[in-house]
Amino acid sequence: MSENSCNKRECDAVLVCDDLCKCYGGVIQASDHIHFELYRGEVHALLGENGAGKSTLMKMLYGIEQPDEGKIFINGKETALNEPAAAIAHGIGMVHQELMLIPHLSVMENIILGKETRTRCGTLDRRTACKEIKELSNAYGLELDPDALVEKLTIGQRQRVEIMKLLYRKADILIFDEPTALLTPRESDALFDVLRRLKAMGKSIVFITHKLREVYQIADRMTVIRGGRIVGVTTPQETDVTALTYMMVGKTVSRERRIPHAMGAAVVLDVENAVVTGADNLRLVDNVSFSVRAGEVLGVAGIEGNGQTALAQAILGIARISQGSIRLEGRELSKCTTKRIRQEGVGSIPDDRQGAGLILSMRIFENMILNEYDKKPFSPHAIYEDWGRVRQYAKEKISDYSIAAANESVYVSSLSGGNQQKIVAARELTKTCRLLIAAQPTRGVDIASADYIQSRILEAAAEGCAVVFISSDLDELMKVSDRIMVMFRGKVTGIVDGDAADRESLGKLMLGETDGIPSEDRNQYS
């Protein structure tokens, strides 16, 4: 890049953060002299692991947090962003990871909420609002029906509503916080098209992510953050995936597919025609059949909310199947209590880590024994809990799983997502575990911890544990699974061999299009 163009670009910087510092509790330097520049009309990826300081930076840009030191310039003018309203007034808008929409209101109502157009009588001017929204959606190619109820929309469509909300407020700088986390591959591609169009219309986009693939698809430039510091500013052309991973994590991480190992012959889990019925007689799990052998990792792919959670709960006996059977090594489980199923050696990493996997308001050692608090050696007899023994056990697990915690009495709420998940994994992967149901075990977990948790799960599989690995991250599934089962609306749309799986055909199966795989494959499993 020549001197000249560089200078030209400097002038074009719509947003400059100069030396931003932010400390939490006087100790943790969440943002350490961060210098960040966003040019007009670019998609700028902000890369970093969980806890690297991406969100802190974004919170400062969006006025949720104020920097301790440093300045923010918007269009060359120094600006103080004290609250989100100030950020919006300066043309900064944010699409949060969890979409902030009101399901019972229409698309139009959601968009204008907080910036309503009024008629002369002071009532809501729906007609003008609808017209403006239609104009916007034509200009940016965002197809939306202003009168549709948000609750009826897909996640991808809801995200468009969020984007429209920002455009309606005349935002020029759009911040996307992990926007593809809940999208299917196809929806992600559609989103990227929208981003490109926004870019072409002169909007500047900050794209927060930890998925490297996406960076190469969409980003013009990227800034990598680690430990609150900028590690580097680069472009996709200059840096390859390995180098980028190294920048993010600070060490090399294997992204290779695992080496296949010998599987046992014995079928551990055998699910046959299982049906779980939810509210409104909706079939959450619809006639699902599959089996997992000892040492096998069965990946379960699918957009979230397509029956994976219900299936996991059915195996654990938390949800009941109304038809079919679930057998563990030949014995029927579907009539057993959860306690009994657990005793049979079924481990579970639930997808809602903080809601169902841990007790955040309790200490590490207490969280380590949730399954076994009433068993020997922790409880030598029914009226005595041997806390000394429990603490000792927790200490061993902490060092075994290299959990970053001062000691075993630390409250779990104070740990990072990665360390929290390691506690769940350490608790569930005991020696007696014969079947592990791992649901989204690496979601919201930093790369190093995710890698570690994956490897521990694979280790357990190598020792003969059957694993059902539920994930919405296809890359992860293709890395760890022997076979991948795809679920759509509670049904199994296909089971493919891990070696033969590719993103495209899995993506099609995730949307219920079964013609994506060879027909003999389907016959074999259906």
Binding site: L316, I318, I341, Q343, S348, G355, I359, F378
Partner: protein, 357 residues
């Protein structure tokens, strides 16, 4: 009890005392002398102190009842009804059973415990697994208990010639003895202390207690772990209801020696307050029940000496609870303090800069 819990309670207590102090001052009286009178009334004489202990006893029991329920994440708001039912059951046994002391009053207390426990389990069975409807169901059981006890007393046990709804005095062996005839302080203190020890041991030293506390903190995690949540809820309600009821039993068997309609000025409700101030710790319940005993004792003496209305004590109690139950007050105060500190240091900085110039 977590450290933050202790800090919050002490802070709320001090803030409440200050606020009520201002109110007293605004009505033209000296808050220092009022608070002095409360302390003097409680610690100034042996009799006064024993009276405070006597007022404390039912509150310890109901406080423990609430603490067990809250630690298990079960909202038992039916304490008042359980107190009434427990009191009546104890008195009925006391009227019918001819055992000598201590068997008489032990039998009566046991009956009280069981009656309260059943009275608490009943709405749990009706409400089923829905915790939200459980609190509504328990609260409704209060009114039922009030009218039911009145009906039973009037119908079967009404003392001839009494203007109140009340029973005759229970058999001698069933009266819970007082230590000194001149004060109401009674053997209930043994029940209270043993209950505190037992509940502490149950919650913190047994696997069962751990499962209750863990359920209270996150029932879904325990469901995942295979703990039968509904059975634990029933168990927590059983214990909680029994403890609430013992508060009524002590009051009926030791203080009134009979069942008098309206004997409870709201022990069941105060138990929730006591437990809240104690951050649901059994040992803390002992302390906060003592404090509330002091206030109750003072509210009876106060109006005579300082002419501060007894309502002022209720205001103080209410304020304490509002403050404890509103952690935001604590954060807001700290933020204000920090802001003030920042402004002061800025002022000094500017002054220093000016000085340098």
């Amino acid at each position: 009890m977590k450290k933050s819990g202790i800090r919050l309670s002490v802070f709320s207590l001090i803030l409440a005392l200050l606020l009520v102090g201002f109110t007293i001052a605004a009505t033209g009286r000296n808050p220092v002398s009022v608070y002095g009178a409360i302390l003097a009334g409680s610690f100034g004489s042996v009799k006064g102190f024993l009276n405070v202990l006597a007022y404390m006893l039912p509150l310890v029991m109901t406080g423990l009842g609430a603490a067990v329920a809250f630690q298990s994440g079960v909202f038992n708001i039916g304490g008042e009804g359980q107190v009434l039912v427990g009191g009546l059951a104890s008195v009925i046994v006391g009227l019918l059973v001819p055992f000598p002391a201590p068997w008489g009053y032990l039998a009566a207390m046991t009956a009280g415990f069981l009656a309260g426990a059943v009275w608490a389990v009943l709405p749990t069975l009706i409400a089923g697994r829905n915790l939200a409807s459980l609190s509504v169901a328990t609260i409704m059981m209060n009114s039922i208990a009030e009218l039911l006890t009145e009906y039973i007393v009037k119908q079967f046990f009404q003392r001839e010639g009494a203007s109140n709804t009340e029973t005759v005095v229970v058999n001698d062996g069933c009266i819970l003895p007082r230590f000194f005839p001149s004060t109401q302080f009674n053997y209930g203190i043994f029940v209270a202390v043993i209950s505190v020890l037992l509940v502490t041991w149950l919650l913190y030293k047994t696997p069962f207690g751990f499962s209750l506390r863990a359920m209270g903190n996150n029932p879904r995690a325990m469901e995942q772990a295979g703990v039968p949540i509904y059975r634990r809820t029933l168990a927590a309600m059983f214990i909680s209801g029994g403890l609430f009821a013992l508060g009524g039993s002590i009051q009926c068997l030791a203080v009134y020696k009979r069942f008098v309609m309206g004997f409870s000025p709201g022990y069941g409700w105060d138990g929730i307050t006591v437990a809240t101030l104690a951050a649901n710790s059994p040992a803390g319940v002992l302390l906060s029940a003592f404090l509330f005993g002091m206030l109750r004792s003072a509210s009876i003496n106060m109006s005579l000496t300082n002419q501060v209305t007894t309502e002022m004590i209720s205001v103080l109690q209410g304020l304490i609870v509002i403050l404890v139950a509103s952690p935001m007050v604590w954060t807001t105060m700290r933020n204000l303090l920090d802001a003030a500190k920042g402004r002061v240091s800025l002022l000094f900085q500017k002054k220093a800069e000016v000085d340098v110039k």
